[in-house]
Amino acid sequence: MLSTKLQVISKRALHLSSKVLAAKPKDPTAINPSEASHFSDLASSWWDETGSQRILHKMNLLRMDFINKTIKTSIPLNKDITDPEKMVFIPGWSFNNLLPDDVSSAIQKEIDDSVRLNSQKLQLKCLDVGCGGGILSECLARLPMVSSVKGIDMTKNVIKVAKKHMKLDPSLENKLEYKMMSLEHIPKTEMFDVVTMMELLEHVDYPATVLKQALSHVAPGGYLFLSTINRDLISWFTTIFMGEHILNIVPVGTHTYSKYIKQSEIKGFMDQLKDKFKVVDVKGCAYFPAVGWFFTGVQNMGNYMMAIRRIK
């Protein structure tokens, strides 16, 4: 039992490190059929924030914080401003604790205003791969810095749910569209400023191929955000043993241990593309009942989120 598991694991590591695809299937970016039927069953409860997907809704808050922070902290605040009166000066030290309240809050306000204005000018084009019922897609589409979001998923029922749910918010109408398709069917030339693949790599059979495909759609200067689960005992204990079997927070069968990917494996993979892409941030995160999701500061354990930026 253990040895077969190890085999699977090593096979999987091979997929990632070698990029070699033995017996290339028809569509390597497609979801595994058994996974597809699992998500199809979940479709009806996808938007029930108090139901089985509550933990996913909660996690989405952390994803949005991660995406917001990554993008907003990279915006140069003083760009294009020559008038010294208008320049926003950000002290290199923690001004909140050292300056009087009035001064530090005034500085903070100027920074916030500047970030808000500059981020709104970005007008990002986003692709949400494996959008499911659209929890992340909708949130992305509502951001003032986003101009359009395309959500794709391979499960017919969840796309149906997503399309129905977006009608509840008229502000989404012109910014968001859903397509039932795989990543491979996105035109090769179509580029996006933000590509997201949240909790996706642990549900596909050929993660390296999927990741490469996704990266090929990231425009220069754009980002790929992904989140998945480290393959370690802690993850197995939290996500499968506790999450699925003991606490029933998520439905049984949501996760497959052997499909988990260590963040170091993705980093190793990204090393081969280092002249084009850079891993800008990795954050470990964990869920604790009654507390919710939080960033842990440990990248190698449990769930994690990763931001990859295309540098040229």
Binding site: N60, L61, D65, N68, A141, R142, D169
Partner: protein, 474 residues
């Protein structure tokens, strides 16, 4: 010509009969201090100000506010509240404080409480630990701030529909959004409905959120009065705990004061029957004389009002004659007169809603909780609600959430409910401990108060609690 006239009259009622449906992002019901402050806070928030926001109110609030702001009445209104430094800080932050008429507010550094049975006293002091302000002053400032923000954002004004009662609230079957019908037949469909509509909140009833609590079987008698000018005294809030309920005297500028006297219904009847002069005498008696003497006066006031005046004067003269310059400081100054027609009363009760939020619903202030006025916390709890709700909405929007969902609003409830519940509980216990003349409890509370009064660090902690200093620092 005739045809045209006929058409003109026949078309018009048809439109108003069906009523048009207006769409809004946030609809606030109630333009009290909570509703107007919330409106100005939302319009002031860079993250929220692009939302289409409306405010509905049954009274003619815009006229009233314009009148008050342009030419405030000569006398202070009897509807006054004590606000904490934390509340003032927030009002400053959202730019509302600039419009406060500062000549009509009074800061006070001292609160002196004393026991009506044992005389055990406790003094609190902190710089500007409380500020007494008319409700109108707060409302008018928030209203002026809204007008200013409207001018700054002419493309996205806050719409105030006043003189317009909410007649019906229903749920739109297609979108699940509440549809509010006004007396003018207009319908407003909103993505978030916020009830700032007071203790008997129609919004809370529509959302079917249960509210628990009990009536205190007390009336709060309010009024605006004036002290006799007996030389300078630092502005001080006084509270005497009588077994019938506390009598609070809070300072306004120029020797004016505002009172809240909680009394049982029988006593409320007696006090309401008094003339203005008799009422002043009764208040002076209630702040000085012993409970036994007061019982005599209450009876006289009920049965032989003509004798009451003489008796009360005689007893007060006796009392005052015995006062030394030093012991005089243990009591508030004598009240000289009352502002005509400034007396009012309202029933006191404790209530707390089981939830402050539901799908597309949020409750703020009295709609979510009402409390006994003895600690002056009611309005301040509402202001803290507003601060938290605005923060919650901002976070929700920054995360791209649909801000009207219960999921997005939940943090507001989970952070405010425990704090409010604790405040309601403490105020309720104080009311109960002081609402008795049972000797052991009187002894115990007096002993406790005498000990506490000599422990400055514990008093500082208590002052911090009532003025929300911690909240401020957080």
């Amino acid at each position: 010509m005739l045809v045209r006239r006929f058409m003109a009259t026949s078309v018009k009622p048809a439109v108003s009969k069906t009523g048009s449906t207006t769409l809004s992002d946030i609809l606030i019901v109630g333009a009290g201090p909570a509703g107007l402050t919330l409106a100005s806070a939302i319009k002031n928030s860079p993250v929220l100000q692009d939302l289409k926001c409306m405010l509905v109110e049954s009274s003619r609030i815009t006229e009233d506010m314009n009148d008050y702001y342009a030419s405030p009445p000569k006398y202070y209104s009897n509807r006054c509240v004590s606000i904490t430094p934390a509340t003032i800080d927030y009002l400053k932050k959202i730019g509302t404080w600039n419009f406060i008429k500062e000549e009509r507010i009074q800061n006070y550094d001292y609160i002196k409480t004393y026991d009506g049975l044992s005389g055990a006293a406790m003094d609190f002091d902190a710089p500007s630990m409380g500020t007494l302000i008319e409700n109108y002053n707060l409302q008018a400032a928030a209203y002026e701030r809204v007008l200013q923000l409207n001018e700054e954002q002419p493309e996205n004004k806050l719409v105030i529909k006043d003189g317009n009662k909410v007649t019906h609230i229903a749920t739109d079957s297609e979108t699940g959004c509440p549809v509010v019908k006004l007396a003018s037949e207009e319908k407003i469909r909103t993505r978030l409905l916020i009830g700032c509509d007071g203790g008997r909140s129609p919004v809370r009833k529509f959302a079917q959120i249960p509210s628990r609590g009990w009536a205190y079987n007390r009336w709060g008698i309010v009024g605006t009065l004036k002290y006799k000018d007996t030389g300078f005294r630092s502005p001080t809030g006084w509270q005497r705990f009588l077994p019938t309920g506390p009598l609070a005297q809070l300072p306004m500028p120029d020797d004016y004061l505002s009172i809240v006297w909680s009394v049982p219904p029988e006593l409320a009847m007696i006090v309401s029957g008094l003339t203005d002069d008799q009422f002043v005498l009764m208040l002076n008696a209630a702040s000085r004389l012993t409970q036994d003497e007061l019982e005599v006066l209450y009876k006289l006031a009920r049965d032989k009002p003509e004798q009451f005046e003489k008796e009360a004067k005689w007893r007060l003269d006796m009392f005052n004659a015995k006062l030394t310059t030093e012991s005089e400081q243990q009591y508030p100054q004598e009240i000289e007169s009352i502002v005509p027609k400034s007396r009012g009363r309202f029933p006191l009760k404790l209530s707390h809603a089981d939830d402050y939020v539901d799908e597309r619903i949020a409750l703020v202030g009295d709609a979510a909780h009402t409390t006994h006025p003895l600690a002056g916390q009611g309005l301040n709890m509402g202001q803290a609600d507003i601060q938290c709700l605005v923060k919650t909405l901002e976070t929700a929007r920054e995360r791209g959430l649909d801000y009207g969902t219960k999921f997005a609003l939940d943090p507001y409830f989970s952070s405010r409910y425990p704090v409010n519940n604790a405040t309601l509980g403490v105020v309720d216990k104080i009311h109960k401990i002081y609402g008795t003349d049972f000797a052991p409890i009187v002894c115990a509370r007096s002993l406790g108060v005498n000990i506490l009064n000599n422990l400055p660090f514990i008093k500082d902690l208590m002052v911090g609690q009532v003025s929300h200093r911690e909240l401020e620092k957080r």
